[in-house]
Symmetry: C2
Subunit: 307 residues, 2 copies
Amino acid sequence: MNKGIQPDWIAVDWGTSRLRAWAMGQGGVLEKRHSDDGAQALSNTMFEPVLEKLVADWLTPSRMTSVVCCGMAGSRQGWVDAGYRLAPCPVTNPLSLVRAPVNCGTMQVWLVPGIKQETPADVMRGEETQISGFLAQEPDFDGVLCLPGTHTKWVRIKGGQILDFKTFITGELFALLSEKSILRHSVAGGKWDQEAFASAFKSTFQEPRKFAGDLFMLRAQSLVADLGASAARARLSGLLLGLEISAAQRYLERGKIRIVGAENLAKLYADALAMIGVSSIHLNADTLTLSGLLQEYTRLTMLDRVS
Amino acid sequence: MNKGIQPDWIAVDWGTSRLRAWAMGQGGVLEKRHSDDGAQALSNTMFEPVLEKLVADWLTPSRMTSVVCCGMAGSRQGWVDAGYRLAPCPVTNPLSLVRAPVNCGTMQVWLVPGIKQETPADVMRGEETQISGFLAQEPDFDGVLCLPGTHTKWVRIKGGQILDFKTFITGELFALLSEKSILRHSVAGGKWDQEAFASAFKSTFQEPRKFAGDLFMLRAQSLVADLGASAARARLSGLLLGLEISAAQRYLERGKIRIVGAENLAKLYADALAMIGVSSIHLNADTLTLSGLLQEYTRLTMLDRVS
């Protein structure tokens, strides 16, 4: 049902587990929508109908609407493989946007490619758009962005370029260990125990080799030493962050750290960094994603690639 | 259907995912059976009927048959909580066997308690019986047993006592990462690449802090550097073993290592230890479990606790 919104273009963040779309006008966001049709659940022919269903009434029969989409829709298992640009590289390059094949005659879809690094091998897909949004705010930033999530990224930025980056599967490990492993019995239902988090973080940060043994100790302490779920859960989180940050230390040398992510998770990282004397600033990830998509769209129109 | 077997007693190993029973006579094993009724799938009232069904025709109406059972049937979520003995302690103590409540008038069931350690907190349940079987062969052993599995244990033994031990959830981490994480795409269907295993093992053994970052690198290399599934799978295994063995180093000081476990897994541990100059001897876990249960039964009869 057309409610009368006729956006100039549509911004889309198509993640592994969620699809989000914004109707964009001159003044910014006209309307936003989301669905649980994440890229992981879709075969490549399903992307167009799923997107069309979500945004149908934003499209105008009389003209072509551009859609700029970042995230997993551009992965090998996605809509179409948008590939990777090779770091070090500028954070955006409108020439590298990839057209997705569509049957619909009233929208054209541009996918943002990811960024890869050869040595050591690493990849990002989606984060490059948040970084682009961040650089729109602070074009001369010289420092490190930490983007916590399922797969946390640490990214060194200078002169508008992504210099190098490193991914840790800390968030995924936390989910697997707290939901699928023997530890689930020990951490279920807990609140939060900041002191337990802090002591576990410091322990693995200082002695990362202890990590694998300390994991089972959580279970053992809940069986024989009445360790509560709150403390166990916070300690699991602390052990994982200690291991990650001990390995990410070379990203801390420059001292200028911005954390881009959901508030709760960003706070954990900020707390952990503060414990080792590193200050950081938190930035909202959603705002940066949208700002990054706007960067892509703006450069695209400047190139006159929009038909 | 009674096929005429009338065992003196019945040995049972009731693990998390499997139930195994042996009909025991003067000359040893008369018959063995198993089922997939692991302890994890049973509520406490289901243990008796499940066991009775498996061994019904081994029971004799005219007398009581003793069943000695080790493993997770004695856990808090099992048949009845058989508790833990506190290490350091002798490897067996027949006075600590716990009677399970049964309705059946022709069997009595004894559960072997686990062993706990207070500092650092740790627990074992089932392994104590394998260790008991091992000590029946080598009563004067002074050294370390490594029992690889879902939760690998390293145990220091001297003078017939368990001095201390340490558990690593290495096997569970391998299963979660290779089956449930993003890495499953990169390791599925591979054979084995011993060279990849060796180099990954050495890397984490020497620099355990690199573990969390090296995990995602497996995924990235399969995306951007054509890392094959065989090498990725072997490297995942090597990374995990490197982390474990770097933390288990104080168990290697004495130099006398026995590995008790399934052949493939024991070989991995032996290979890894050989890379750092530690020799080991492999022992069959099933043989030791049965031998350990025989130790418990023998001491039980000597105490005249069998009614």
